[in-house]
């Protein structure tokens, strides 16, 4: 269970209680971000997403007070825990968008490897089709569980229920297994550099988006099957882990992109909950009708717009 879930449960409970007239009715605040509005509904003592994000952002790791746990089998840092929320404590040196090749524009406009499936100018996104989250951030969902086991680091996402099985090998044996089928989350292989787990990920299927679209100006940050990511996973102390990715995609990007330093705070639970993403073809069909109508309206509006500008 995550704090986010608890917060949702609290909100739901408040709704049910209001129906029973045990608490007074609540008028949600009309202004502020969605997170702020949800946060203001939480009962005292329940941390909102915004508060938790601030707490983790401003946290200073203290390995003396919270020593990094170590595994009984190899003495390396034990990543096991449930983590939420995630924050970027150091931004990427340059925005990913600045590295996209101009000639990739047309491919991106078409949705890249999601061509025909995703209408990025509307509400559509990879997550909507139950695809795993961006590999440029470890394919990590909002809340997740890490499990260290002999020879493996496992990443289990709560939202969507996807998982990564990352084998950990010796220094001389760290070639990713190319015999596997290309996939959304790629083939991973990890090795230790001191107490940092360095994971090389290749063998992607060319379909993931590295970052979302921002319609209308920024098309999807698509990837190609040449995508290669090197990740560094570390534990500054027993309350957090940190993650940073270096992303290469010679077909999409003009240079290697170094991602932000990402940090997650640990929650006092020993397992995440089941929260599967199940595709809904009927919903997709309704959405396609909606998107077609919206595109038709845009087309008409565009013509009028150009006319006005003239």
């Amino acid at each position: 269970v995550s704090a986010r879930k608890l917060a949702v449960m609290a909100v739901l409970a408040l709704g049910a209680s209001a129906a029973l007239a045990q608490v007074s009715e609540i008028t949600p605040p009309a202004s502020g971000s969605r997170e702020e509005r949800v946060g203001s509904l939480l009962p005292p003592g329940v941390e909102s997403a915004a508060e938790a994000t601030d707490r983790v952002t401003n946290y200073t790791p203290d390995p003396a007070k919270y020593p990094v746990p170590r595994t009984s089998w190899d003495g390396k840092p034990d990543f096991s825990g449930v983590y939420w929320p995630g924050v970027n404590i150091t931004p990427a040196p340059v925005p990913l968008e600045s590295l996209y090749k101009p000639e990739a524009r047309e491919y991106r406009e078409g949705g890249g490897g999601a061509r025909g499936l995703i209408d990025w100018r509307s509400i559509d996104s990879p997550a909507y089709h139950c695809w795993p989250p961006s590999p440029a951030n470890g394919s990590m969902a909002l809340s997740l569980q890490l499990v260290s086991a002999p020879g493996f680091l496992l990443m289990l996402n709560e939202g969507g229920g996807t998982f990564r099985i990352i084998p950990i090998v010796g220094e001389g044996d760290r070639r990713p297994d190319q015999s596997r089928r290309p996939s959304f989350m790629g083939s991973s292989v990890g090795h230790w550099e001191g107490d940092t787990l360095v994971v090389e990920v290749t063998n992607f299927n060319g379909r993931p988006w590295l970052g979302g679209a921002r319609p209308p100006a920024q098309p999807p940050q698509t990837s190609s099957s040449a995508l290669r990511i090197v990740e560094r996973w570390s534990r500054p102390d027993g309350q957090t882990f940190e993650y940073q990715a270096v992303v290469e995609d010679p077909e999409m990007l003009t240079a290697r992109w170094t991602g932000p330093v990402h940090r997650r705070g640990m929650l006092p639970y020993d397992m995440i909950q089941e929260a599967l993403c199940v595709p809904d073809p009927e919903l997709y069909a309704r959405h396609r009708e909606f998107a077609a109508a919206a595109a038709a309206a845009r087309g008409r509006g565009g013509v009028r717009g150009r006319g006005g500008a003239r």
Binding site: P150, F152, L156, S183
Partner: protein
């Protein structure tokens, strides 16, 4: 002569003893539990193509009159896996697709390749998840303990949406191919490695709302696969189960 024979016998006993010790080592994790770690795969089981290899005729006879009446209103097309809803165990064990077990102190994780899921199974014998944190789910809430070399997993808190077998499974000519469950379902599984390359699985299913008494699956034999991990597989309803499942395990 007798001394030589004696030495040979002592040698043979020692050799067998050492070999058993080596096998014993491989059978245990570094923290002393039976080691079920590996990628495993069994035969596809059921009653889809004549014969009944999953004791489904017995299961069919156990449904209550009320459950039968509801099942009459449904058909094989209502099988939730057709919408990519993952099947829980024991049904997941009859698909004939790969699964992977990884252990660490206190937990065993079971990953399935078809309809990809992970089960997080506490092996410390701790109680089920506390009620205030418990949501009914497709895969249920598991907790386990070791009985000798067998991992006994107790699973509750299902959401009642899953089926116990596929719409194609029709053990008798009168079968509708509908296999309902309810949120009252309670599954007890037994996982046991019988040698280095063989894992046995067996489950007992109780469901007071749909079954008149407990149903036992046959023992499912799973063989070790020589890969270090299962593949990523995304189920898409538009592919249909034949296409989707055919892509797996190749």
């Amino acid at each position: 002569m007798a001394a030589v024979a004696g030495a040979a016998i002592v040698g043979a006993v020692l050799f067998v003893g050492l070999r058993e010790a080596a096998e014993e080592d491989r059978a245990l994790t570094q923290w002393g539990e039976p080691d079920l770690t590996g990628v495993w795969q069994g035969e596809a089981l059921g009653a889809a193509s004549g014969g009944d290899t999953f004791n489904l005729q017995t299961l069919e006879g156990l449904y209550t009159p009320d459950a039968r009446a509801r099942m009459k209103q449904m058909s094989a097309k209502d099988d939730p896996t057709l919408q990519c809803v993952p099947p829980a165990f024991p049904r997941a064990a009859m698909l004939g697709h790969r699964l992977q077990i990884i252990q660490r102190p206190g937990f065993a994780l079971v990953f399935t390749e078809a309809y990809p899921t992970v089960r997080i199974i506490p092996t410390s014998g701790r109680p089920h998840t506390a009620e205030q944190f418990l949501f009914p789910s497709h895969l249920g809430d598991s907790t386990a303990r070791w009985e000798g070399d067998t991992l006994v997993v107790d699973v509750t808190s299902f959401n009642g949406e899953g089926w116990l077998a596929s719409g194609q499974d029709k053990p008798t000519s009168a079968s509708a191919g509908v296999w309902l469950t309810s949120p009252a379902m309670h599954v007890v599984e037994r996982w046991r490695r019988i040698d280095a390359d063989t894992l046995e699985y067996q489950a007992t299913v109780e469901d007071a709302e749909t079954l008149t008494s407990a149903w036992q699956t046959p023992v499912v034999t799973l063989k070790r696969q020589s890969i270090d991990r299962i593949e990523e597989a995304l189920c898409r309803p538009e592919d249909g189960p034949e296409t989707y499942l055919a892509r797996l395990g190749s």
